[in-house]
């Protein structure tokens, strides 16, 4: 059963579709839709980020910056310039893609913590610009997005409509991502993580692989930024903040590095958990931190891979130290 779930096209996708289709049966109000929609948005971003972090092993602590740029592009172009939302969104995505492409080469030459620093700095610079250029962005108070998102007369206005839109996008993106990691390109991606030299000497242009996946994950973040700006109808520079970037990375790692379904689980947990923990009031943050630590300590590979290994009966005993 779990094998089937874990195998890329062998049913996992089907389960996801069924889940998305049936979930609304359990929803009692719009708030439940709202949480589900936010899970969906996060999941889409995190799947992209996981391609970069989990599969290619290139950490980024700056992706919230790309997301925010997409959001602001949509807000500004539809708001002040009356562009149609889709065009604004695509323009934002192209812009973010170009930016990501330009910075990718020098940034991705860095490794490990240095890469983390560089991407973090990049995200911070974006956040600072958004915060400072208040004429354009509304500054720290943010700006409203009045235009509803729509294509060719079809508009997403109600939570229900948004739910199906986000659900459909998620399914498509998960399908594409699963395809990708199971393709030669995906193998190259994993090899960049495993050993860059090894990949190079069999003909993998590791730089271009890294740049591609960096740009793709940035563009996906930008698209989601645009969509969520229309959905929430409000954006602020906090979208670009370092915390938001970290939050996205935590989702990827908690759910499981190099696991597409893990990204979904991570996004779901990290979106829902704070809603649940409000019950703890003053101890909310303490409990949240402890939960996070506990998950990573008991499931160091992340929830989905660890559960998978455990259920498949192949979990390594702790203490078995592999040669580095």
């Amino acid at each position: 059963m779990l094998k089937v779930l874990a195998s890329p096209r062998g049913g996992g996708l089907l389960v996801l579709i069924v889940l998305i289709a049936l979930l609304p049966l359990g929803f009692q109000n719009n708030f439940h839709y709202d949480v589900a929609i936010r899970v969906g948005f996060n999941a889409i971003v995190v799947v992209g980020l996981n391609l970069l972090i989990g599969y290619a092993g290139q950490i980024s602590l700056g992706h919230a910056g790309f997301l925010a740029l997409g959001a602001y592009a949509s807000a500004i172009l539809t708001g002040s310039h009356d562009w149609p939302p889709v065009l604004a969104m695509l323009t934002g995505a192209v812009g973010v893609g170009l930016l990501a492409f330009v910075v990718a080469r020098p940034v991705l030459r860095l490794k490990g913590h240095y890469l983390a620093m560089a991407t973090l700095g990049m995200g911070m610079i974006i956040a600072i610009v958004l915060n400072t250029e208040s004429q354009l962005t509304g500054g720290p108070d943010g700006m409203s997005v009045w235009v509803s998102f729509g294509v060719a007369g079809l508009e997403a206005n109600t939570p229900r409509q948004w739910y199906w839109l986000v659900g459909a996008l998620l399914v498509v993106w998960v399908w594409l991502a699963l395809n990708l990691i199971d393709s030669p390109f995906g193998r190259a991606l994993k090899a960049v993580h495993g050993s860059e030299v090894a990949a190079e000497v069999v003909g993998v242009d590791t730089t271009s692989v890294k740049v591609t996946v960096f740009v793709v994950s940035a563009v996906v973040a930008s698209l989601v930024g645009s969509l969520s700006a229309h959905y929430i109808s409000f954006i602020s520079p906090q979208e670009a903040s370092f915390f938001h970037s970290i939050e996205l990375v935590i989702m990827a790692v908690l759910g499981g590095m190099a696991s597409i379904y893990g990204s979904l689980v991570g996004a779901a947990i990290l979106t829902v958990l704070p809603q649940v923990l409000t019950a703890f009031e003053d101890f909310e943050h303490l409990v949240f931190g402890l939960v996070m630590m506990a998950v990573m300590i008991f499931m160091p590979k992340g929830i989905v891979p660890s559960l998978g290994l455990w259920l498949a009966g192949r979990a390594r005993r702790p203490g078995g130290e592999a040669a580095p």
């Binding site: 050993s195 190079e200 000497v201 069999v202 003909g203």
Partner: protein, 256 residues
């Protein structure tokens, strides 16, 4: 036409001359061994030839065209492939996937085609999978095909690298100590592998300290010492060369 020509090559690491003014040629279709004391510069030479390092001076020619400074992946696409003395295996992948990686450039690894899983991708992948499983069998890893790379013992990892290099179908194959960590019986298997590969027309360059292997299969031996050429010639001449014996082989060595 020479396949590989190394011309006045030098590499310096902060004052240490790992390779100094080295020149030699490798003719296609031969098995070429490079031997020499530890630290003579053999691995560095491989790194220079395959583009992992850039030389401090000198040129490398492939098919008479200068390729100095090209990236390793470009050289791989030009027909070079290699294994590493310090293993470079992707431990986050399965053993078979590591070998499949070797087929990378033969699989039209586009981003979009991968994303959409076009039929051609699926077909080529399936064929490659079969071929790579066959290669693993060929190097003696038949019973490890579905293992995770990080669970393989040392000796198996060495062979895995050979299989990966072969999967790339190179014209020029560089092996850095392929027999290290293998016992005599296993070395003989590798010996056979190398010979079969050479018979298919692949030029093999071999760095190895196992003299039985080197002397048995190579057509030509190059001896390095302190980054310079100490001797060059046919195996039987090298074996008798007093300089080589003094610097490398040792008199006590009773090689068959």
């Amino acid at each position: 036409m020479t396949l590989l020509k190394v011309d006045d090559l030098s590499k310096e690491f902060g004052g240490v001359h790992a390779i100094e003014d080295l020149s030699f040629v490798i003719e296609p279709g031969t098995i070429h061994a490079i031997i020499g004391p530890n630290g003579a510069g053999k691995t560095t030479l491989f790194n220079l030839i395959t583009g992992v390092y850039t030389p401090s001076a000198g040129e490398v020619y492939l098919d008479d065209r200068p390729v100095t400074g090209k990236a390793p992946f470009e050289l791989a696409r030009a027909g070079m492939s290699r294994t590493f003395q310090n293993l470079q295996v992707c431990l986050n992948m399965s053993a078979l996937d590591n070998v499949m990686l070797g087929r990378h450039m033969h699989l039209k690894p586009g981003f979009v085609s991968g994303l959409l899983r076009l039929p051609g991708v699926v077909r080529r992948d399936r064929e490659a999978r079969q071929m790579c499983a066959g290669l693993m069998d060929f190097v003696g890893l038949g019973n490890h095909i579905h293992a995770a790379a990080d669970s393989l013992p040392y000796g198996a990892l060495k062979r895995l690298e050979i299989a990966r290099a072969l999967a790339a179908e190179p014209r020029l194959l560089l092996l850095d100590e392929p027999a290290a960590g293998l016992n005599s019986a296993e070395t003989r298997e590798i010996d056979a592998v190398i010979q079969k590969v050479a018979e298919r027309g692949v030029t093999v360059v071999l760095v190895e300290h196992d003299m039985k292997l080197v002397m048995g299969i190579s057509d030509h031996v190059l001896v390095l010492d302190y980054g310079r050429k100490l001797a060059e010639g046919r195996p039987q001449d090298i074996r008798a060369n007093p300089d080589v014996i003094a610097a490398y082989l040792g008199t006590a060595h009773a090689f068959a």
